[in-house]
């Protein structure tokens, strides 16, 4: 338990029962292709080779990253010098949202497990987006806020039916 919570996919049952699909909240799930294109144009692409560090634990940069291609490993310190992989982040995921909001230090190391392409959005770039497309920026913030709130709720009291809804 000390290493984070695991909501594994061990119990994704084979049929279309109510227990099978875990409802995943998507960020900007209703955005059109064009809106995504606009959003991504405001950020920039970053490319990493396998093993390259993406985020250094304890650093103070504030970018939000969207993983476009490849896989990232999230590493937490283990023992005195070692690291343990605590999660594998797939393409289509968003990382860095905590520091993006609170400016606090990065809470884990993230490195590329494979060659990876990330879209990076710095707070400054977000501001530019907010000027150009206030509606989109507002929805992005609301969605991030909504997902963070859900996560907080889940952490406070994870429903025992988490895998069943």
């Amino acid at each position: 338990m000390s290493r984070g919570c695991y909501v594994s996919s061990f119990f994704d049952y084979p049929d279309q029962s109510p227990a099978a699909p875990a409802k995943v909240e998507l960020l900007l799930g209703d955005a059109t292709d064009d809106e995504w294109a606009v959003l991504l144009r405001h950020g920039r692409d970053r490319r990493f080779g396998p093993g390259d560090t993406v985020v250094t634990m304890g650093s103070r940069e504030q970018s939000l990253y969207i993983v476009l291609e490849g896989q990232l490993e999230v590493l937490a310190p283990r023992g005195r010098r070692g690291y343990k992989r605590i999660a594998l982040v797939e393409a289509g995921s968003v990382i860095g949202e905590l520091s993006f909001f609170d400016g606090g230090v990065r809470s884990a190391h993230v490195r590329a497990a494979t060659a990876a392409v990330l879209a990076e959005l710095t707070p400054t770039e977000f501001d530019a987006l907010a000027v150009a497309r206030p509606d989109l920026a507002r929805r992005l913030l609301f969605d991030l806020g909504r997902i963070l709130a859900q996560r907080l709720r889940a952490a406070q009291r994870a429903p025992s039916t988490a895998g069943e809804n």
Partner: protein
């Protein structure tokens, strides 16, 4: 193999950094690429453009300029390896190219030989290089303890992934036997309580834990309670309800409570009361049975409230022998962390559940178990104790054990998995310490053999097994954590895969920058994209017409970067000339982007005044009448005005709208905007060009002798020249009842608006469209978009039989089927049913379809009545020669009403050309048209289809087909080569370059020599460019 170029950015006071250029980037202080903090660098300073063969730099108009190896940059400069680009006080060095084979390893694996002869500082070390995740130890242990994945199975196999040694059918037999034995035991307990109790308490109960411990799956398959619970499912009379929330949530607590309650009641009651025990067992099996009737799968009993479940889950978590579940055929996903589904990992998943409500009762159970078992055996005979005191003492044992369990975890940083395993092992060892004696006694009773030492081997075997079990469980826990950690955890924020695809596309595409006037952020386009496609994607207010550069619906002004676009072809040049805008005008649909940046305004700039141009004109022509306000009529009026500055021009149109884009009317059916988007000419156009517009006016008669047109309003227009451009109407199908409310054609904006209004007014839900041609499919799609269930009736055996070949018809059919349109073949409508309005359609083959709307799209009919009555030669249309002259001198015809070369085209681009020719010739000019190779486009129905020229192959023709069978976005190309020359082509899918190449090749009947055919067969359709005139050499 050279890969993408690598540059090194050396900025003052910053570590040197290297960047691999997979695509073009900008460099500047505040740009979309590499940002520098160098103040002498402009915000957008330069652009680095990599291609497979060269890396070049372009200065973006920076204030302080850019130098390459000391030379100021003007235009584009190619960077050799080692070249130094200086901007402000920053240097960018072209280091070399990435090795392709080692591409993902970035610059770290670059060989020294690849570096230029330039001493470079080493790249900055990566800030952190953590070691790989340490699963090696776990792997080693797993091998030693036999917990590793078995050959051919995943680490934690589901029952469906396990090897099944005993067929499911055999288990049914075993289960029937076990239920019979269970019932026999119940009966025995009544008749001979002592015997029954012996078998139950002294044989079965002492053996169950070791069975759970070693082969839990065996018990799950033979358990008589499970058999009774699953019987309703097996015999198909279960109601299969989803377990209510409380049952799922508190099932574990209920089963734990039942376990402790029933077992502790042994002391007071069941140990001494055979009938009572029998009743208990009967109640239990009946409860299991009814739970099976009510709830689906095993969610009512076996996996929720069964009193034995807690024991099975704890002791079965690391089975020595796995037996796949034989109940659930198939799995219905009824239970969270189902033991029967994935036995080796279910308990770990419970323990690691993020919900403390889920884990707490399970931990409590195992925490209490050793103390409870010990207390039970010490107190079961309770010599000299009152019953309440016995239970009080048992409770103390219970609490002491729980306390020690939590105290251990608080004091020693022990893994929960280990703590649980140790406690469970303690409990089972205590159990067999006492039960070893019981079993030994039972052995003697049954066999008559007396082995007083027998309890010891039992105790030792259990002890050794449990030590081994603890180690295995520990390894299993580590394996679970490693595996769970490597799976994506739910809380990571996800974007939709579609968005990721857009992102990928955006990331991959180099992107040609296109700025639209009035929009602040430039758009990025893929090479080959037309300005129209880009503008539509960017939601720019642009109108689309023929999409072939002919109709003139989408002129744009290219403000900068005109040479980055493809050159206009002849059609487009003609259109541009016809429109008469400024020289920087292009037709957005055919101007395709080759490079950038390009800047575009959607409002074309006015051309130079043309009054001065018209030096000679026929002053004897005072009045020109044009009947028809479509593209042919308006184009004719326009060209009359261009060629004659002061004659009267009358345009008579029966519709009430100024010229609009007829090809876009289907959008009026489903789109939210009304006419404004479709209007091609502003109302003042008529005034500006001194054209008298008679809109919403019907011409009733032409008098050739007196050269007058009589209008139905009573007015009369005298003309010197007459141009007929009445267009065509939809053919009225010979369907009984056609014309009653709900039956429509879709030809004019008015039709479209009426359909939309009708659908809303009557809440129409179903529509039948007669005709599987271009018009029919477009109409069907628009109704579908409006939310109706649409059925298309096609008389023939396939769709678009005149435009495309059979296979392509199948692809088009598949597309429409996918979006939900139904197409019936060899189906002809006979009559409409419904008295007041359309309620259904009966077909000639006897079928009847329910329908609120019947839309006929069975063809067009030129509006020739006026001409016929006047005595002008008419066949299907008004017959014209190559100069668009009718049989009567001074009378011309153009557009859909005209029959040219025995063809009525009914195509907008051709109508525009004919209108122009008619006007020019009416004023005394001499323009001849040749009957064209017709091209058709189907667009805006979710797929792009283009067809030109000959479709069917004749004997001796060569057909080249290339298909990409992606079901989501089918792509199909076909070229018919007749006598070595391109004769017809089909392009399905968005591929403007191939479309343009095929058009050019077919129109010019370009030679396609065999080597080029080969290239095409290999899929290299790019070779068709330049009309196939540049064949590839073998």
């Amino acid at each position: 193999m050279a890969g993408p170029p690598i540059i090194e950015i050396r900025e003052l006071g910053k570590p040197v950094r290297r960047v691999v250029l997979h695509h073009a980037i900008e460099v500047g202080r505040e740009c979309d690429g590499e940002n520098l903090s160098d103040d002498s660098v402009s915000r957008r300073h330069l652009r680095l453009v990599p291609t497979p063969v060269a890396l070049s730099v372009v200065d973006l108009g920076s204030r302080n300029g850019t130098q390459v190896n000391g030379t100021p940059v003007t235009g584009r400069v190619v960077l050799e390896p080692g070249a130094v680009v200086r901007l402000g006080s920053t240097e960018i060095v072209m280091v070399g190219r990435q090795e392709m084979a080692a591409a993902p390893m970035a610059m770290r694996t670059m060989r020294p030989g690849q570096l230029p002869a330039l001493v470079l500082p080493p790249p900055p070390p990566a800030p952190v290089a953590p070691p790989p995740a340490p699963s090696a130890v776990a792997t080693l242990w797993a091998r030693a303890l036999g917990t590793g994945p078995r050959a051919g199975e995943p680490l934690f196999p589901a029952y469906t992934e396990m090897r099944r040694r005993i067929p499911v059918r055999a288990w049914h037999g075993v289960r029937i036997a076990s239920v019979v034995a269970y019932l026999a035991l119940c009966v025995t307990l009544f008749i001979r309580p002592a015997g029954g109790q012996f078998w139950f308490f002294k044989v079965i109960v002492p053996l169950l834990p070791i069975l759970f411990f070693t082969a839990p799956g065996l018990w799950r398959n033979i358990c008589p309670l499970a058999a009774s619970n699953q019987a309703p499912r097996w015999l198909s009379f279960t109601r299969a309800l989803t377990a209510p929330d409380w049952l799922r949530r508190y099932g574990a607590l209920i089963s734990i409570g039942l376990f402790f309650g029933i077992t502790s009641a042994r002391i007071a009651f069941f140990n001494s009361n055979g009938a009572g025990l029998s009743v208990l067992l009967l109640v239990t099996i009946i409860s299991a049975f009814f739970a099976g009737i009510a709830f689906k799968g095993k969610s009512g009993w076996c996996s929720s409230t069964c009193p034995l479940l807690p024991l099975q889950r704890v002791y079965g978590q690391t089975p020595f022998v796995t037996v796949p579940n034989s109940h659930c055929q198939p799995c219905v996903g009824c239970t969270k962390n189902c033991y029967d589904f994935r036995p080796s990992v279910a308990y770990q998943a419970d323990l690691h559940d993020p919900d403390p409500d889920w884990t707490a009762p399970r931990k409590l159970f195992v925490g209490a178990l050793p103390g409870y078992v010990l207390g039970f055996f010490l107190l079961v005979s309770h010599p000299g104790l009152a019953l309440p005191e016995v239970y009080l003492r048992l409770a103390l044992f219970f609490l002491g054990s729980v306390g020690a369990f939590y105290a251990l975890q608080a004091l020693v940083p022990v893994d929960t998995t280990v703590a649980v395993a140790v406690w469970a092992s303690a409990a089972i060892n205590i159990f067999y310490w006492f039960s070893g004696v019981t079993l030994s006694g039972s052995f003697t009773t049954i066999t008559g053999v007396r082995w007083p030492w027998l309890p010891w081997p039992i105790r030792v075997i259990v002890a050794v097994l449990s030590l081994f079990w603890i180690a295995r469980t520990y390894v299993k826990g580590r394996q679970y954590e490693d595996d769970a950690a490597s799976r994506p955890a739910l809380p990571v924020i996800q974007i939709s895969p579609r968005a990721a695809k857009v992102a990928q596309r955006a990331a991959e595409s180099d992107g040609i920058e296109v700025g639209f006037a009035g929009s602040d952020k430039p758009a990025r386009a893929e090479p080959g994209m037309s300005l129209l496609a880009l503008a539509e994607r960017e939601r720019q207010p642009i109108e689309a017409g023929c999409r072939m550069g002919v109709c003139g619906a989408d002129p744009v002004a290219v403000l900068a970067g005109g040479d980055c676009l493809t050159a206009p072809d002849e059609d487009e040049q003609n259109t541009l000339r016809r429109l008469g805008h400024a020289d920087n005008t292009r037709m957005a649909c055919v101007a395709r982007l080759q490079s950038g940046p390009v800047r575009v305004s959607l409002t074309p700039e006015p051309g130079r005044p043309q009054a001065g141009k018209v030096a000679h004109f026929d002053r004897s022509i005072v009045s020109v009448a044009v009947i028809g306000n479509g593209i042919a009529g308006v184009t004719a009026a326009d060209f009359i005005r261009r060629g004659h500055p002061d004659c009267e021009i009358h345009v008579v149109g029966s519709e009430s709208h100024p010229l609009y884009n007829r090809m876009g009317i289907s959008r009026l059916v489903y789109g939210r905007s009304a006419m404004q988007g479709l209007t091609l000419l502003p109302e003042q156009w008529y005034d500006e060009h001194q054209v008298v517009a008679w809109l919403n006016t019907v011409a009733s008669r032409i008098d050739l002798a007196s050269r007058r047109v009589f209008l139905a309003t009573g007015d009369t227009i005298a003309y010197d020249r007459l141009i007929l451009a009445m267009g065509s109407s939809s053919t009225q199908p010979p369907v009984g009842g056609f014309g009653r409310p709900g039956s429509f054609v879709l030809r004019s904006a008015g039709d479209a608006l009426a359909i939309r209004a009708y659908v809303q007014q009557h809440g129409a839900r179903e529509a039948v469209v007669a005709g599987g041609g271009l018009l029919g499919l477009e109409a069907a799609h628009s109704l579908h978009e409006l939310g109706l269930r649409v059925t298309v009736l096609e008389r023939g055996q396939r769709l678009l039989s005149r435009q495309i070949d059979e296979h392509c018809s199948e692809l088009v059919h598949a597309h429409f089927a996918r979006i939900g349109l139904q197409v019936l073949y060899r189906a002809e409508s006979e009559a409409l049913t419904g008295d007041d309005r359309v309620r259904g359609v009966s077909l000639k083959d006897g079928r009847t379809l329910r329908s609120d709307i019947f839309l006929a799209a069975v063809g067009i009919r030129p509006n020739v009545e006026l001409a016929r009555q006047a005595g002008i030669a008419v066949n299907r249309g008004v017959i014209v020669n190559d100069r668009m002259e009718t049989s009567v001198p001074g009378v011309f015809a153009a557009g859909d009403v005209a029959e040219h070369g025995a063809q009525v085209f009914g195509l907008w681009p051709i109508a525009a050309k004919q209108g122009e020719a008619a006007a020019v010739n009416a004023l005394g000019g001499n323009t001849s048209l040749v009957a064209e190779v017709p091209a058709t486009i189907l667009k805006g129905v979710g797929l792009d289809l283009f067809s030109i020229g000959q479709v069917a192959a004749r004997p001796g023709d060569v057909v080249v087909v290339h298909e990409d069978p992606d079901p989501a976005a089918p792509s199909y190309r076909r070229l018919v080569i007749s006598n070595g020359r391109a004769a017809g082509g089909i392009v399905l899918g968005t591929d403007p370059e191939t479309m343009a190449a095929v058009t050019a090749a077919v129109k010019s009947r370009a030679a396609i020599p065999p080597p080029l055919v080969l290239e095409l067969r290999r899929g290299h359709w790019g070779r068709l460019k330049d009309g196939g005139l540049v064949p590839a050499l073998p």
